[in-house]
Amino acid sequence: MGWFFGDSSSDSPQTESHTSSFDENLSTDSGFSSFDTSSLSSGLDSSSIGSGGGKDSELQSFLMMEQQKAQMQAMIHKMNEVCWEVCVGAPGSRLDARTETCISNCVDRFIDSSLFITNRFAQLLAKSGGGM
């Protein structure tokens, strides 16, 4: 993932806005960009992709990069769904500190669980493969 994060300057610059006017968040492009991670990379124009090969490798790199970003987005949507169910009871006028802690722990534990499951599954496969 090095080349992906080589472009990102910092954390995703989403604002923790408590605005309750959802028009602002949905109707403008800047509203959209706060929800997609294309704001993570500094934009395709400034990133150096495929400087050596022809234009095709540039396109391929671009598409790979977009695919990675889309996978990240899918992951974020999944985690959001799960952590919303776990951490948020009744929606209030803002997310309180306990809920925010719960959500951020939830994300980390979700990733830890996925890694744990993947690794253990690989071990189980290796064990059963060796036993045959």
Binding site: H18, L63, P91, G92, V107, D108
Partner: protein, 90 residues
């Protein structure tokens, strides 16, 4: 992913193609967000479906949407920070 035959494209056509791809991804992302948000907020806010949405249900939906998006932002930040940490440890 199969290699893509794009030799015939001019550079402005490539730019257009890349812009289109980026657009499509933004659209897909937004659709996903709206779908999920709709499911979650409906189940939180509409417990007894009536013949119309009354004002308390609408208020609940509005608050739920805002909280869902706050949650999305937080998850996104936390996830990105975690990936960055993992990358730094490699």
């Amino acid at each position: 992913m199969d290699s893509i035959r794009t030799e015939g494209l001019s550079s402005s056509q490539r730019e257009d193609l890349m812009d289109q791809v980026k657009q499509q991804i933004v659209i897909a992302n937004t659709q996903e967000l709206l779908t999920k948000m709709g499911e979650k907020c409906f189940s939180k806010c509409i417990t007894k479906p009536g013949s119309s949405l009354d004002s308390s249900e609408q208020k609940c939906l509005a608050m739920c949407m805002d909280r869902y998006m706050d949650c999305w932002n937080l998850v996104s930040r936390t996830y990105t920070a975690r990936l960055q940490r993992e990358k730094n440890f490699q």
